[in-house]
Amino acid sequence: MKPTENKRRRDFTRGALALLVGGAALSAARSRSPKLVWQIDPEQCSRCGRCATHCVLAPSAVKCFHSYSICGYCDLCGGYLRPDAKGRNTGAENQLCPTAAIKRTFIENPYYQYTIEEDLCVGCGICVEGCSVFGNGSMYLQVKHDLCVNCNECAIARACPSDAFKRIPASEAYLLKSDQEKRIG
């Protein structure tokens, strides 16, 4: 065997070893790094409506969340009632939500509780806009991780005009609006 052939063999072995060690290290590092998921920063969301139309799922994995600690439980609810509503009641003609996904329940005068029916919510954000403009902003959008398929490149994030979509650790997969709610969560 010629010395040059020996050298080539050694180089090959070293290269293969380096590749093996590097690959193992990379794999270990990847397994240690936290899994990331997509989420909406409610402070940056501009309620443009693209969450409902750009998700690869139909209906969208984005749903309206409601913070009861922030809600004012108003009879005159900007998230439930159309701005030109003729009455403050459950009549379909008065409701802002295009899919009637918000349920209104009387508690005691003058308080009403509003709950989101997730199956009906399409993530359009119309109620979020209403609640933000004429309310406390207790309604906001979040990606539901039991629905989201966590695309590597989220189609909504690509279309989001306000950079509200963020990659966050799966261990804390929601950006809830109030500290109080975080403690409960």
């Binding site: 922030i70 459950t90 009637a100 902003g137």
Partner: protein, 500 residues
């Protein structure tokens, strides 16, 4: 036995041609084809009837009024008859008034401009762990902010456990309570409860409760002097979400805006509780959340009030000097005088702003609308009143201001131009803001305090720290000496802001 037709005959022409060759063949074709034709026809008829009879609304239910289980609208929001004993009761505690200097005696401070003019130097930067918290006090849910005089901190609170309005007096030193005067009042949380700032003089403290109850007590001891139920006594309509009107003391008189059928504004003697004068309310304007501001126009000091319905200028003796209609639905900010005998008023919820020119005419005044803007077009604020400094107006834009929403902005009222804004990454919710020692202090909804350099050219942030935990930190900021008082919805804190 079957006779099969050739493949070449399996076509329309082929089948017809094949038809009639032999009787057997005909029979075979009929036996095979007839059931298929009958079944296909029946299937087609069934499909057609199903298609025609399809009810697209099947499975849907109608949403009709009354499905929330609530009472009819006609029975809601009926004013409940309250019989409140405004004298209530006085409780005393072991707090001791502070000897520290400085005061913040009412809403927007001593000069009604939200600018602190004390000589104390305030820190230009803060330690890594933020400004030092000297003391804190738990409060009932609300947005009421304190007034400070003679080492005492006065705050109008709501005691949720006892269901009572409570005017509380604390020591500026350590936040210990000195006395508390409270009266029972049924009130339900409606975006918080308390929301006004008392007015305090050496003589007395004047406070207005969320349901329009006015009380005047001794500033030192809390002894009760007199009280008024504006709804019951003067026909006031309680504004949506309770009242935010901060009362005013001027020359020993309480200046109030009941906006009832018999008086738009009125003055009450602080010593006796007697009504000194009333300004008529011919337009039937209603009480807003705005507060009466003493402004000087054409060299004359007058009371300016933005009611729900319009804005009015009233002389020190209660005579209407000028008025102008403005149909903003909810008005929380108060009027601001700008150069050229003009008055600027703004409101949230889509109202935007109104700039009014007040001119002398004959022996009186006339008000003319100079400009009216939507919230996306010019300076507008939803809750807080803009600050006028060196001819420029500073404020926080409302939620419906488009790209500028919730940004801290500077506008030039003379040119109408936006001078600068804080940018899309710096938004402050509905935050209160005020000016001291040539620095702006802005508190956002979540309790983050930001210190800005006063600049006519651009946004310059000096420091930022989250000083409060809670949400809805909407109560205006007060400063006495170097002690800054801030609150969120349930807690008040005192920060040491002196130069390091």
């Amino acid at each position: 036995m079957f006779n099969y037709i050739n493949e070449s005959e399996v076509s329309g022409v082929g089948v017809i041609a094949a038809w009639g060759r032999t009787l057997n063949q005909r029979k075979t074709i009929l036996i095979v084809v007839a059931p298929v034709v009958v079944l296909a026809g029946a299937g087609a008829l069934w499909a057609l009837s199903d298609w025609l009879g399809y009810d697209p609304a099947k499975g849907l239910s109608r949403s009709l009024p009354g499905m929330d289980g609530g009472p009819p609208e006609s029975e809601r929001n009926q004013a409940d008859e309250l019989n409140v004993d405004l004298a209530g009761e006085l409780a005393t505690y072991d707090g001791v008034p502070s000897s520290l200097p400085g005061s913040w005696p009412r809403f927007r401070g001593a000069d009604f401009d939200n600018i602190h003019k004390g000589a104390a130097k305030l820190a230009d930067h803060w330690p890594e762990d933020g400004p030092r918290v000297l003391w804190s006090v738990d409060l009932g849910e609300g947005h009421a902010a304190p007034a400070v005089l003679n080492g005492r901190v006065y705050l109008f609170d709501y005691d949720e456990a006892k269901r009572a309005d409570a005017l509380r007096c604390f020591s500026l030193d350590d936040g210990k309570e000195i006395w508390r005067r409270s009266y029972e009042l049924p009130a339900k949380r409606n975006h918080g409860l308390s929301r006004t700032i008392p007015a305090v003089t050496e003589d007395c403290v004047l406070a207005m409760g969320p349901r329009c109850h006015v009380s005047c007590v001794d500033a030192e001891t809390g002894a009760f002097r007199w009280g008024l139920d504006l709804q019951k006594d003067h026909g006031t309509t309680e504004p949506l979400w309770f009242t935010g009107q901060c009362p005013l003391i001027e020359d020993g008189k309480a200046i109030l805006a009941p906006a009832g059928p018999d008086a738009l504004l009125m003055a009450v003697d602080c010593a006796t509780g007697e009504i000194v004068w009333k300004t008529p309310n011919p337009n039937g304007w209603k009480m807003s959340h705005s507060s009466i501001m003493p402004l000087t126009l054409h060299g004359e000091r007058m009371f300016v009030y933005a009611a729900a319905g319009g804005m009015v200028g009233v002389s020190m003796e209660g005579k209407t000097l000028w008025e102008i209609p403005w149909n903003a639905s909810v008005i929380a900010p108060s009027p601001v005088a700008v150069a050229g005998d003009r008055v600027f008023i703004t409101a949230g919820y889509g109202s935007g702003s109104l700039l009014v020119q007040v001119d002398e005419e004959g022996d009186g005044y006339v008000a003319k609308e100079l400009a009216r803007h939507g919230p996306k077009d010019w300076l507008a604020c939803e809750q807080q009143t803009p600050i006028l400094l060196d001819g420029l107006l500073y404020g926080i834009m409302p939620k419906d201001a488009g790209a500028l929403k919730q940004q801290f902005v500077c506008y030039d009222p003379a040119s109408g131009e936006l001078v600068w804004s804080s940018g899309k990454t710096q938004r402050f919710g509905l935050g209160p803001f005020f000016l001291a020692d040539e620095k702006f202090y802005v508190l956002d909804d979540d309790g983050t305090l930001t210190m800005l350099a006063v600049s006519a050219t651009g946004y310059e942030e000096l420091a930022r720290y989250r000083v409060l935990d809670g949400h809805d930190a909407w109560g205006p900021i007060a400063l006495a000496g170097t002690r800054m008082l801030l609150r969120d919805s349930t807690r008040m804190i005192c920060l040491e802001m002196g130069a390091l």
